[in-house]
């Protein structure tokens, strides 16, 4: 048995010694944190794929410099994400940490990473907590601010003069934000506002109450499995033909394969979709399909855009060593994205177009189609409370 301990000890010492090799000077190190294992791997895996695809498209070199990418699986746990980020900063000595799907994980690592003078680039999560007062000069978001989509939906439904809306979201921070964002732009009357349990499976009781309230439309935010459950049961209750359903982050490329006809005809809002006409997007979609055999969702597009953003910024700054120079480059650089070009707000969140999407059955293929621009060059509403000026 003592042999085993000895082997363990030597193994540990060896790995310590190995890891202690000094790092070469002009090299870019990027840590990409996403969720690979567990149920949420369905989002994280395509993001990793898209990031790899992006790296291929820039010849494996960000800004023309030798680049090493380290992938990490956060297991969707805040403390694991924190530990991973810490490891990437202190052990791997990365210059940039990118990825991050979940708002709560981003909130968990935001402070420690930005304080360590490492850049943090969110490829998805955009919670209000880091968009306003707590914005940071080392943090950039290349995806969206969470409130943008509900704001878009509120605007659209106001424009359409839809009144008497019933709204519903899970009872947690993002759920409240999605209702708040909706109300910010929606000027009509709200006849019911319901918060459901996070991860709820059966919505029959809510559907009964909803029908009794006789609204003229329903707006929901129920991401992932919750959305599948609700939309299916909504269709089964025979309501989809009677009361139109509008949603954000609920009917998308991930839930459509499980929803199929139950979701057809419902409206959603998004900042990107595979049918956008620009060249970057077309190339991304076709090469992604070729390589991975699937149509990418917006999560993947954002990961791809992250590569394009880093590539352009590092090229402009000429390296990653001078953080101030790199920051200046990140703020102003024009880079090709799957969403066309967009600029950053003073809080480092994108100012971008928001599109209306409808779920359709395209010859047995269930997809969402763009049905026009709702808001163009839309900036988030937290930017004004961010003290950063540049």
């Amino acid at each position: 048995m003592s042999k085993r301990i000895l082997a363990l000890a030597t193994g540990l010492a060896a790995s310590l010694a190995l890891a202690a090799t000094p790092v070469a000077a002009e090299k870019v190190k990027v840590g990409f944190i996403t969720t690979l294992s567990g149920g949420a791997g369905i989002i994280g895996k395509p993001m990793k794929n898209a990031f790899e695809l992006g790296m291929e498209h820039v010849g494996g070199r960000l800004g023309g410099l030798e680049t090493e990418v380290i992938y990490g699986d956060d297991k969707r746990k805040p403390d694991v994400a924190k530990q991973l980020a810490n490891k990437m900063i202190k052990k791997d000595r990365v210059d940039i940490i990118a990825g991050i799907i979940w708002s709560n994980l981003l909130v968990a690592i935001h402070g420690p990473v930005t304080r360590s003078n490492t850049f943090l680039i969110s490829s998805n999560a955009g919670p209000s907590a880091v968009a306003g007062k707590k914005c940071s000069d080392n943090f950039f978001n290349v995806a969206f601010q969470n409130d943008m989509m509900p704001e878009g939906m509120g605007k659209y439904m106001t424009d359409k003069k839809i009144d008497n809306v019933y709204v519903m979201a899970p009872n947690y921070q993002a759920g409240k934000d999605m209702i708040k964002g909706f109300k910010r732009m929606f000027k009509g009357k709200i006849v019911g506002e319901v918060y459901t349990k996070l991860g709820q499976k059966d919505y029959q009781a809510e559907i009964s109450a909803l029908r009794a309230a006789k609204p003229s439309a329903v707006y929901v935010f129920l991401p992932g499995g919750m959305g599948i459950n609700f939309v299916k049961q909504y269709a089964q209750a025979g309501l989809s033909s009677k009361i139109p359903l509008y949603s954000v982050y609920t009917v998308d490329a991930l839930t459509l394969p499980a929803l199929k006809d139950a979701a057809v005809g419902t409206f959603g809002v998004q900042h990107w979709s595979p049918d956008l006409g620009n060249t970057v997007s077309r190339r991304f979609v076709s090469t992604y399909r070729e390589k991975y055999g699937k149509t990418p969702a917006f999560y993947a597009a954002q990961a791809y855009d992250t590569v394009m953003f880093l590539d352009a910024a590092i090229r402009k700054a000429g390296g990653v060593g001078d953080r101030a120079k790199l920051r200046a480059a990140m703020r102003t650089v024009a880079f090709p994205t799957t969403r066309g070009t967009f600029k950053f707000n003073n809080n480092h969140f994108p100012i971008q177009n928001i599109y209306l999407r409808e779920a359709v059955n395209d010859g047995g293929n269930y997809v969402t189609k763009t049905r026009g621009v709702i808001l163009s060059a839309h900036g988030d509403s937290y930017a004004k409370s961010c003290p950063m000026k540049w």
């Binding site: 149920g39 009794a212 459950n229 089964q236 499980a258």
Partner: protein, 307 residues
């Protein structure tokens, strides 16, 4: 609140309770007879749902798929019992909790590898898609009525088996003293395997009926598992009757509570506070109920084991 709506909500609660009963029935049998805590019972719900979804797609018929999925789930249950759980009966509850916790990890990952991480589509045939007006102006999905019917038939069948057959006698005897049953020359091993597989079928049946309602995905059984545990603890471990009553009570309290509480609270505090506290309290409600019952009756409402 409109009394008709309240009645409809009570009906929803009943349907949810029946679903919980299907899951809890197997759990309480295994608990009562083998004295075994099986956290992996929720995985059987998931396996039932996956098997049914796959077999429905394969046969092209809803009923045909279910007809194949039921024996398949029975087989999976028997296999799990023989390979993994049999050795755990003589262990203490702690060992059982941990080993079956390991089983959950294993099952979820197996499902993810075999069927992929994406939720499966599981629809309904047209003849189950309709509605019935149970109350005026309240069209109710036919499929949910089917669930109630299936659940009630299972409950009735179980009652007949337990109360009036030799197998039921063994089950009852096993629940109160399984060593004695073994000493009397009953092949206790195959009885255990059968009972476990039967429980798996009930859980799988719940999964099969959940498939068209909810998302079929890895880990779908765990939230239900904890509720099922609450049910059998309230009902008294090993008692089918207890599980049935407790399941209905939990279903009603959970459903009616989560609809009514925010409305009730609005009468006392301002809307924003009610919107926050209502759902919070509603999600805690059944745990409060369970804690309350256990404080008054530490053995649940209908304790089967009296010795």
């Amino acid at each position: 609140m409109d009394p008709l709506l309240l009645l409809e909500q009570a009906f929803n609660g009943l349907q949810f309770g029946i679903m919980l009963f299907l899951i809890a029935a197997g759990l309480t049998l295994v608990f009562g007879i083998m004295d075994m805590v099986n956290l992996a019972h929720g995985s059987l719900v998931m396996i039932g749902a996956y098997l049914a979804t796959t077999l429905i797609a394969w046969t092209g018929s809803f009923l045909g798929g279910l007809a194949l999925a039921i024996p398949a789930t029975f087989a999976v249950g028997a296999l799990v019992e023989v390979v993994a759980l049999r050795t755990l009966y003589r262990r203490n509850h702690l060992d059982q909790v941990l080993a079956t916790f390991g089983l959950i990890l294993f099952f979820n990952e197996i499902v993810r590898i075999v069927w992929g991480p994406v939720s499966l589509y599981s629809g309904l045939p047209d003849y189950l898609m309709g509605h019935v007006e149970i109350f005026p102006d309240a069209p109710y999905p036919v499929f949910r009525l089917v669930i109630i019917a299936v659940g009630l038939s299972v409950a009735a069948a179980l009652y007949l088996i337990v109360a009036h057959t030799r197998l039921g006698m063994l089950i009852r005897a096993g629940a109160s003293n399984n060593e004695m049953v073994g000493a009397l020359g009953v092949n206790i091993k195959s009885l255990f395997t059968f009972v476990f597989a039967l429980g798996a079928v009930f859980a799988g049946l719940a999964g099969m009926m959940l498939g068209p309602l909810t998302s079929v995905e890895p880990g779908m059984g765990e939230p239900l598992l904890i509720l099922a545990f609450v049910v059998i603890i309230i009902g008294g471990i090993g008692s089918i009757r207890g599980a049935f009553i407790a399941a209905i009570v939990v279903g009603l309290v959970d459903t009616v509570g989560r609809v009514m509480l925010p409305v009730l609270l609005r009468a006392f505090v301002d809307d924003a506070a009610a919107d926050t506290a209502g759902p919070a309290l509603a999600s805690m409600l059944i745990y409060i109920l369970m804690a309350g019952i256990l404080v008054v009756r530490p053995q649940g409402l209908f304790p089967a084991r009296t010795g």
